[in-house]
Every structure is written in C-alpha cells, then in structure tokens.
C-alpha cells in the first residue's frame, strides 16, 4: 500500500512571533523552523501502516521553498522512503496549496493520503478536505486512529462531545490529530540514512493566492492582571471581582 503524507515547514511552536517590515508576515530572522507537529503525527501514522503490513512505500510531499528540503529530510529520518519538494509559495490560500498538491497526487494515485489536521502556522485547517474534494476522494478529518481493511478504512474522528466512527472506501484522504500517534524520534541511523534517500524537486503549479493578507498584528498585550491574594482566604475577593468587576459570574 502506497501512502503520501503532505507536510509543511512551520516555525517551532516555542517561537515568539514578531511582525516583519512588510507588516503582513512574520519576521523570520532567528526563527527556528520545524516539521509541523500534526504532520509528524501523520508521518508516524503512515510509518505504522507500512510496518504493520510489511510492505508499501511512504512518500512525503511539501509545497514550499528550498529550505523545506530540511523539513522533508526530518520526515525521511523518521522513516519515510522518499520525498518530493514542489517548489512554490505556500500562502494563506489553502485552496491554491491543495490544487498544487492535487496535481501531483492525482498521477501518483496512492491508496491513502495523510495530512495534519492543521498546520501550526496559518492554522487554516483546510488543505486536507480541499485536496480530497479536488481528487474526488472521501475524507475524514481530525482522525485520532484508523484501521485499514483491503478496500476501506475505518476512522475515529474527534468531534465535540465524542468520537465519530466513519468508514471510507479506499483510496481516501485523512487528516490526522495526535490520538495514538506519538511521533518517534529519528535515530542517528535514521538521520544518516535520510541523507541518501531520494528527494525529488520540481516546480509547483500554483495559482496566485486569492486571500490577500492586508495586515498582520500582534494581539493586544494582555495587561498583567493582579494577584488577588494568597491561599483560600483570597477566594471571596476573587469571586466578588469576577461578579462585580468582570461581570462573568
């Protein structure tokens, strides 16, 4: 069974965001970039399928600039077999990204396409179901676990108030949330092996973004509040403030 995992290079979640000089994007200086955390879960899920079945190939794909090669190598170091860099700009317009990915995935025709439920930069939470729709394949989102049979996949999808169990015919597209997919660390051997694994590069077919970022701003600093007091004796005053000052009780 061949699996494609779509991955994205994003700022490390520790990053303190500063707005760049253009006023519409972040200042990348000093920012450490990583494989997006949810995409790590997706890579982990794909590797487990390959290991359980003892066959198949896991390909990681990204749309991004040349620096994204590093991100692909991280996924290869975890254990993916090969990588493809679609050179182009990933914008806030997830549909443009989904189209570029679809053009590639259509011809590869994998049984399963896995994505993260959301990318830890734009948080658009959209590329997966868009890609599925463009490919005409069924899709389950926020999947915390799945079981494969020959012709279908049964997915546990996290929704408000519980888990929805869905069965989709293969080939299918799933967006993965953490669930049972605690990602493995790349071993030293894995990191060495990743250097020799195939990483193909080609020009992406991207349309211009139709979501225009006018401005990017930091949220208003929350002014540090006040320490009401120490220990349980401070509780009555806290409750009074919540009721009379904040009006929330």
């Amino acid at each position: 069974m061949n699996i494609i995992v779509c991955v994205k290079r994003v700022p490390d979640t520790e990053t303190r965001i500063r707005v760049g000089d253009d006023g519409t994007s972040i200042d990348p200086s000093g920012v450490k970039y990583v494989l997006s955390p949810y995409d790590e879960f997706a890579v982990e899920a794909a590797l487990r399928v390959r290991e359980a079945r003892g066959e198949g190939e896991v390909t990681v794909v990204t749309l991004g600039d040349d620096a994204s090669q590093e991100t692909l190598r991280s996924a290869l170091a975890m254990g993916a077999d090969k990588a493809l860099l679609l050179q182009g700009e990933a914008t806030a317009d997830g549909l443009a990204t989904a189209r570029a990915l679809a053009a590639e995935i259509e011809t590869a025709d994998p049984s399963l396409v896995l994505l993260g439920v959301k990318a830890a930069d734009d948080d658009q939470q959209q590329v997966g179901p868009m890609l599925a729709t463009l490919l005409g394949r069924p899709c389950a989102t926020a999947v915390s676990g799945f079981e494969l049979s020959d012709a279908s996949v049964t997915c546990h999808s996290e929704v408000e108030g519980g888990t929805q169990v869905l069965e989709l015919p293969l080939p299918a597209v799933l967006t993965i949330t953490k669930g049972e997919y605690e990602p493995r660390y790349a071993s030293l051997k894995g990191i060495m092996a990743a250097k020799r694994k195939p990483l193909e590069t080609k020009e992406a077919q991207t349309a211009p973004s139709r979501l225009r970022v006018r401005t990017m701003e930091l949220p208003p600093e929350r002014s540090a509040g006040r320490i009401v007091g120490e220990g349980p004796d401070a509780v009555p005053e806290l409750v009074r403030l919540l009721r009379e000052e904040a009006n929330v009780l």
Binding site: T13, E14, R16, I17, V19, I26, Y38, G94, L95, A96, A98, A120, D122, D123, Q125, P129, M130, T133, L134, C139, T141, A142, T154, E158, E160, G161, G162, T163, Q164, V165, L166, E167, L168, P169, R210, R212, R214, M216, E217, L218, P219, R222, A224, G225, R226, I227, G229, E230, G231, P232, A234, V235, P236, L238, V239, L242, R243, A246, V248, L249
Partner: protein, 327 residues
C-alpha cells in the same frame, strides 16, 4: 449583499453557535445593506426549531430536512450546502465547529473560492468584507480580503455575541436532491464522552487543569468546580496532562490542541507555557491558581491566587455554589 448562514443543529436542537453565526451575518447585512438567509439542515421536522432565528436577523430560514441528514454526514451536508450556496449568495458563513471546519473546505473546493477558517471578526471596509483571523494559534492576527465570490468563512464559537434583531424569519423548505446511496462515507457509530458537558471549544466557561493536579484522580476537584459554574462550563487540560494520559486529547488547550475563547477561563495548576497561552489568550477573563508566584500564567491572568490549589479550589467551588444558589 445576500448572506447565507449555516445554523448548526445537533440531535435536532439548534446549537448556541447557530444564533452567533446568524446574528453576525445580520450585523454585516445591516451595515452594508442586504439580507440574511439561515440554512438549517437536519432530520425530518428540523424546521420546527428554526422559528427563533428570525429574532436574530434571518429574513428566511431555509430548511433541508431528510432522515439521512439527521446527523452530520460530510458527503450529504456538502451536497446540500453546495446546491444552496450557488443561488447567488455573496457570502457564506459557517460555524468554526468540528462540523463547520470539516464542511467548509469541501465547499470551498466545490465552489472554487478560498476559505478563511476560524475568524474572530468581520468588518466592512469600503463596501467589502475583511476578515480577521488568528494565526500561529493566536500569537498574531491577520486581516484578509477575498478576491472571489462568495466570501466563505467559518466563525469561531463564543466570539460573536448573538444580538436580537427582528426579521421575518420565514421558514421555508428547500428542495434539494438528497441521495444517500451516492455518499461514499458510511457513519458507523458515535462514541460520546461519558458526561454530557460542552466541549472545551464551545464552552463559555472553561476549567482547565495542569500537572499541578498531581494525579488524574484529583480531577474530581475541577469537575465539582465546573458543575458549580453551571451547564455552560466545560473542562480543559494542558498538554502535559494529556501526554501523561490523565485526560483525553479532545480537552487539550493550546497550539497543538484547541484554541478557545470562553468568557471565563480558569487555569489551575498550569504553568502557562507559550504553547498553552497561544490557545487561551483570547479568553475574556482569565483566572490563575498556582502556588508559584513567578509562574508565567500570571502574566496573562486578569486575576490570580497564589496558593495550593488543593486548598483554593474547594473553597472556590463552595463560594461559587453559594453565589449561584442566591441567584
């Protein structure tokens, strides 16, 4: 401007967020001129719960009722929405719930328009809509304009306050073909979490616990506080306790969990790591209980108590109970 607002229902009841989405759309229509249609999709008889939407500014409540649509079905719902959205709407708003966020990207692909998920504000600038949305899990906000029609967006729950605004609210059935045979996805089952409490992303009050609780058994303290706060309160958790298996991932608040915006957020025994703050910093009022006066959570909290949560929380529960019993 004609706006279509999806009024989400679950188990045949309107969700609170349905009022928020309809009301937000009506606010925009009032400013720019135009009308709002609410769309209600559900099982037989679902139209009956739509009547109240007129009170939030819906000119019409368009109803698609079919037994196969009683529960959310991605293939079924997207078909309905695609058919209706093509009837000349300039904007389509959905709630940024699990359902809305699953549905909207599919709709975007079918309509060939971009999508802004999880917006926290809509503004009218020179007669066009601009959408504000958090990025980097709330560490920054972008203002977007859309070069396509309809403008498609999902609205974050709890952010848009429902306002009463009288409109006709005429309930009408829409005739859309519904063919369950053609839907590839099969709904197998729904495994509800034991307690019927609001999801952390929807709750208007959230009680969140972290590693300071020491043991999953101690969650009864938070559960009691949550109960005292009322039915609209939900439970949240830091990643540390989710990773430890103390709480389900569905409760995790933060950059790799849910981003929440309740009117009141309690951070109990949570240090306030940057990834946690990202998920809850847009809450209305933040209360922190931590025994470490230097914990970073106090930098964002409106009110803090420095102390042992095992002493503070039971007292807090008691005081809240007393207050609520006085009405």
């Amino acid at each position: 401007m004609k706006i279509l607002a999806l009024a989400e229902q679950r188990n045949g009841q309107l969700r609170g967020v349905a009022r928020e989405v309809v009301s937000a759309a009506a606010g925009v229509a009032a400013e720019i001129g135009g009308e709002v249609d609410a769309l209600l999709v559900g099982g037989e008889g679902i139209g009956e719960v739509g009547g109240e939407l007129g009170g939030f500014g819906a000119a019409r409540v368009r109803v698609v009722a079919h037994e196969a649509l009683a529960d959310y079905h991605p293939d079924g719902y997207v078909g309905v929405l695609h058919a209706v959205a093509q009837e000349g709407y300039d904007a389509v708003f959905l709630p940024a719930t699990s359902q809305g966020k699953d549905l909207a990207p599919r709709l975007a692909a079918l309509l060939d328009v971009p999508l802004a998920q999880d917006i926290t504000d809509v503004q009218v600038v020179d007669g066009a809509l601009e959408l504000i949305r958090p990025v980097y899990a709330g560490k920054a906000f972008t203002r977007l304009s859309v070069d396509a029609s309809p403008v498609l967006a999902t609205l974050r729950p709890n952010v848009f306050q429902p306002e009463s605004r009288e409109a006709a609210g005429e309930v009408e059935a829409v005739d859309v073909p519904v063919d369950p045979e053609s839907w590839p996805t099969r709904l197998v089952s729904f495994e509800g979490t034991a307690a019927d409490i609001p999801d952390v992303a929807e709750a208007s009050v959230v009680v969140s616990g972290g590693r300071g609780l020491k043991d999953p058994e101690n969650w009864n303290l938070l559960e009691e506080l949550r109960e005292a706060l009322g039915d609209s309160a939900g439970l949240g958790a830091s990643r540390a306790v989710v990773d430890a298996g103390w709480r389900p991932h569905g409760e995790q608040v933060g950059q790799t969990g849910k981003t929440v915006a309740p009117k009141l957020y309690f951070a109990i025994g949570i240090s306030g790591a940057i990834q946690h703050l990202a998920g809850m910093r847009t809450a209305g009022t933040i209360v922190a209980v931590n025994r470490d006066a230097d914990a970073p959570i106090f930098k964002v909290a409106d009110y803090g108590i420095v102390g042992d949560l095992f002493d503070v929380v039971p007292r807090l529960t008691e005081e809240v109970r007393t207050l609520k019993s006085q009405g």
